[in-house]
């Protein structure tokens, strides 16, 4: 074996893999150019859910912005975002924003296709009790601020067309999850019933997140962006109780 051959071998040894992944990302959709009000309103939101905004990658959408944004305006905007823990990674808007994006070293993405939903600000404490009848809420309970990561508990079926997100924590569903619905959580997802829709755990990149369900019949499952669709899922443990976790960079499905 010549040294050349050896080199060849080393050269062919892959140092990277190209992979497709899916990540849910928070979109900051700008509707008005008003830096001071932007800073104030963002500060309010951050105060409500500090965990949610810590080192969160965001996409800044300029599609709804009426007036022009210049580079100074954009830099001011980016600074406000970063001051509050957000990490702008891309702009989204029509092609004429490209020079601006390049000056700010951001990626320019084409306009969105309208699959996004408005994120309800994760209200402290209210999340966990929101599903209970009003009478069951203890007076005063809502006065304490949330501690640690909030868990969102859903007791009603999640129906086709509905989307439920647990920002900054786990999502627990105590009812069936229909085909055509979508569950999202920054942490784990538990479904105590059949999981027939989509479930995306660790949507902000938590590779330790898991999905637990009583009957795996999902259209898609994803942990930290690695996903499998029904066609692949059907081959093993279909309709069984399983947990799904990330093993290296593929999804591992194990019986519960």
């Amino acid at each position: 074996m010549t040294s050349d051959a050896n080199l060849d071998l080393l050269d062919n040894d892959p140092v990277f893999h190209l992979k497709g992944g899916m990540l849910a990302m928070t979109v900051v959709e700008l509707v008005r150019q008003a830096p001071e009000r932007f800073a104030m309103q963002l500060a309010e939101k951050v105060e409500q859910a500090p965990n949610f905004f810590q080192d969160t990658p965001v996409l800044i959408s300029l599609e709804k912005l009426d007036d022009r944004l210049d580079i100074a305006g954009l830099i001011a905007l980016l600074r406000i975002c970063r001051d509050h823990g957000l990490l702008p990674v891309a702009l989204r808007g029509p092609e004429d924003f490209r020079p601006l994006a390049q000056q700010a070293s951001l990626v320019l993405l084409p306009p969105g296709r309208g699959r996004e939903k408005v994120l309800e600000a994760p209200e402290p404490e209210a999340q966990a009790v929101a599903q209970q009848p009003a009478a069951a809420q203890k007076p005063g309970a809502a006065a304490q601020p949330a501690q640690g990561t909030p868990t969102r508990v859903i007791t009603q079926p999640v129906r086709s067309g509905q989307q439920v997100y647990a920002p900054g924590g786990d999502l627990i569903v105590l009812a069936p999850v229909s085909a055509g619905s979508e569950l999202l959580a920054d942490g784990h997802i538990h479904v105590y019933g059949p999981l027939r829709g989509r479930a995306l755990a660790g949507v902000r990149g938590d590779t330790q997140a898991r999905i637990f369900c009583q009957s795996l019949e999902a259209e898609l499952v994803s942990v930290a962006g690695q996903y499998k669709v029904a066609e692949d899922l059907r081959r093993q443990q279909w309709k069984e109780a399983v947990q799904i976790s990330l093993d290296g960079d593929s999804l591992k499905i194990a019986a519960l």
């Binding site: 129906r159 086709s160 509905q162 229909s178 085909a179 055509g180």
Partner: protein, 268 residues
């Protein structure tokens, strides 16, 4: 207390109007003062199935706009003194109905009627939303096929999130009505079974209406099929009305009529 009942589905042509006519008539025949309201503006259908299309003068939109009053607009059914129909407008478009307008009319109807049966248009848009928004109970009409079940599921999501009751932290009581059910086609694997549909939608089953010639015959004659008490569909609708009123009645017409091959061989 007046009860507002919406007959809804998401998908079109599954049997909402047939069901509205049958259930409304069934309630009236059992002594409850009932009005059936046609929310399908522009497609007026209910009056044909009820056989009162030749007596329509004013309609729902006239009533909302104040062109007519309740007495002038409601059509009394020929068969039951307890039954009235509020026809939809054929000439107006669906934007003629407003949330306030609908609320005003329903509030008036509540003063005289025990049951207000709302026949929803297809879809999940404005018309269907108006029909279900004020409901106390919903009958979700579903055919045993995947797309109909999926649309019903979607409608159930809207009932639990976009209705007045849901906004007040309350719930609409949900009933599943499986219509156009053909046990033979279920056995051949061409259709979903009752338990398949129950499993997906997970709401209580109000009834199973078999696919039946009697339905077409009845609607051609302008007589609600529930009046045809010899027919399987008529009997199945009567059972459903009993269940709606709280009685426990066993489900019928779930099995295929002819014996299957195995049964014939083993005499099962």
């Amino acid at each position: 207390m007046a009860k507002i009942l919406v007959i809804t589905s998401g998908k079109g042509g599954v049997g909402k109007t047939t069901t509205s006519a049958a259930i409304g008539t069934g309630l009236a025949l059992r002594g409850y003062k009932t009005v059936i309201v046609d929310f399908d503006v522009g497609l007026r259908n209910l009056d044909l199935i009820m056989g009162c299309e030749r007596r329509v003068v004013y309609d729902f939109v006239n009533l909302i706009n104040g062109d007519s009053n309740l007495n002038q607009t409601l059509i009394k059914d020929k068969r039951s003194d307890n039954l009235y129909i509020l026809p939809a407008s054929q000439t107006r478009d669906k934007d003629a109905l407003t949330l306030e307008g609908v609320q005003g009319v329903l509030d008036q109807l509540k003063e005289t009627f025990d049951f207000i049966v709302c026949d929803s248009p297809a879809g999940i848009e404005k018309g269907a939303h108006l029909a279900m928004y004020f409901a106390d109970e919903a009958i979700v009409v579903t055919n045993p096929e995947v797309s109909s079940v999926r649309d019903s599921d979607r409608m159930l999501g809207l009932l639990s999130s976009k209705s007045r009751r849901s906004e007040q932290g309350d719930r609409i009581k949900e009933h599943l009505l499986l219509t156009r059910y053909s046990p033979e086609r279920v056995e051949n694997g061409e259709m979903l079974s009752v338990s398949d549909v129950e499993d997906i939608l997970s709401i209580p089953l109000l009834g199973v209406i078999p696919e039946s010639q009697a339905v077409l015959k009845a609607s051609n004659q302008g007589i609600p099929v529930i009046m045809d008490d010899k027919s399987d569909a008529g009997q199945a609708y009567s059972d459903a009305v009993e269940r709606l009123l709280g009685k426990e009645v066993p489900h019928r017409f779930l099995e295929a009529q002819k014996k299957g091959l195995l049964k014939r061989l083993f005499g099962g």
